[in-house]
């Protein structure tokens, strides 16, 4: 499993691997949002936690269609299915690589992008922590969606339609943690629910995604 994780990280960080696209997209969408809303700092500060979460979520979606598609096209997925590594572990390793190259960097840059939206200083830590706790669920749910749409023409579009509704609970609790943290309210309940969502997704979805992959590979 480590070999697969390391290979995917190596490929992502090399030229043409796609690392940085999600951050660039996050940056551009946040900037567009700030320009679109205008110089109303009170309004911007109020919507900043939720807006950053929506932008991060969309950025996370961007690279999902490549998660299994590249391995499917070059035959690696077939070979991995026959290899002495469970397909569930393949899904888990690839989702981890997606999180390390997408979710984690998004969580790290989100507080910086909060400056564009006039995010209050108290919110920086909570935007970071909420994304850190919530993005594993986004990667895992995305992996399930990518498995479902593997091999389909225009699968990328279908993937967005399938995955976005599944992102709603994570978005609700993630944005709520960031909002409550920003205004100094207690964050314990939404934060624990967000962590539970991520752990739940990590524990269950590799099995669901692997089952779907097996069917799609037939």
């Amino acid at each position: 499993m480590m070999a697969l994780l390391m290979r995917d990280l190596k490929l992502a960080f090399r030229a043409g691997g796609g690392f940085g696209f999600a951050i660039l997209f996050f940056f551009i969408v946040t900037l567009l949002l700030a320009f679109g809303i205008g110089p109303d700092v009170v309004l911007l500060g109020k919507i900043a936690p939720g807006a950053l979460w929506v932008c991060a979520l969309l950025a996370c979606l961007l690279s999902l269609d490549r998660l299994f598609a590249l391995d499917y096209e070059d035959g690696t997925l077939d070979l991995l299915t026959v290899a002495p590594i469970p397909l569930e572990a393949v899904v888990f390793a690839k989702s981890c690589a997606h999180w390390i190259t997408t979710g984690l960097p998004l969580a790290l840059v989100a507080p910086l992008l909060g400056i564009f939206l006039d995010l209050p200083a108290e919110g920086y830590l909570w935007v970071f922590l909420s994304l850190l706790a919530g993005t594993p669920a986004l990667s895992m749910i995305g992996a399930f969606g990518a498995a479902l749409t593997l091999g389909l023409r225009r699968g990328g579009l279908l993937l967005s339609v399938l995955v976005l509704p599944l992102y709603v609970p994570t978005l609700i609790f993630g944005a709520e943690v960031a909002r409550r943290g920003t205004v100094g309210m207690d964050v314990q309940t939404p934060f624990l629910l967000l962590v539970a969502l991520s752990f739940g997704a990590l524990a269950l979805l590799p099995f669901a995604a692997a089952a779907v992959l097996r069917i799609n590979l037939r």
């Binding site: 070999a3 290979r7 190596k10 490929l11 070059d74 035959g75 077939d78």
Partner: protein
Amino acid sequence: MILSVKDLSVSRGGRLLLSGLNFEVLPSEALVLTGPNGLGKTSLLRTLAGLQPQAGGEIITENETAVYAGHADGLKSGLSVIENLRFWADIFASRHRLNDALEQFDLSDLKNRLAGRLSAGQKRRLGLARLVLSERPLWLLDEPTVSLDEPSRQGFYKTLQTHFDDGGGAVIVSHTPLALARSPKVMDLSLFAAQGFFTTEVDAFL
């Protein structure tokens, strides 16, 4: 016996392609499958590899016996030759030395070149080198000599012979005769072609 197939039926997309297949692959033995395009040779290999379920019959083999080499070589163009091989060696927990595999397929001089910059024949050789690293007794090969020039072909036959000498077996789909030291069993799959019935009523609509 490495592989035993009893009354096997093979389908693709719900359409029955082959039926009534019975054969065995013994250690040090090769079985070559022939037949016209579209008959179901690749589907049969994929079924034997466990990549798709059989429409009927039985495949008797031990777990983790087979390694599959299909039309696509499973190479990452962004990784070098040695990195590609190292990945598969790690996946199969191979004790085989990477340099030996490189030498066997005449890839030593190319080991630091990106796989994306290799020719089709060189890519094929790299894909086949993966078989050696798998250390599995049954090789399921789909047109392994496509894109290979004569010296590469001879090198591949040599590797195949070493595999047989070590007690391994192979099921090979090939349109061209293989120049192996010991003549392989040849099976013409046209004799087992089904009449294209759908395997189930539900499958017909999938």
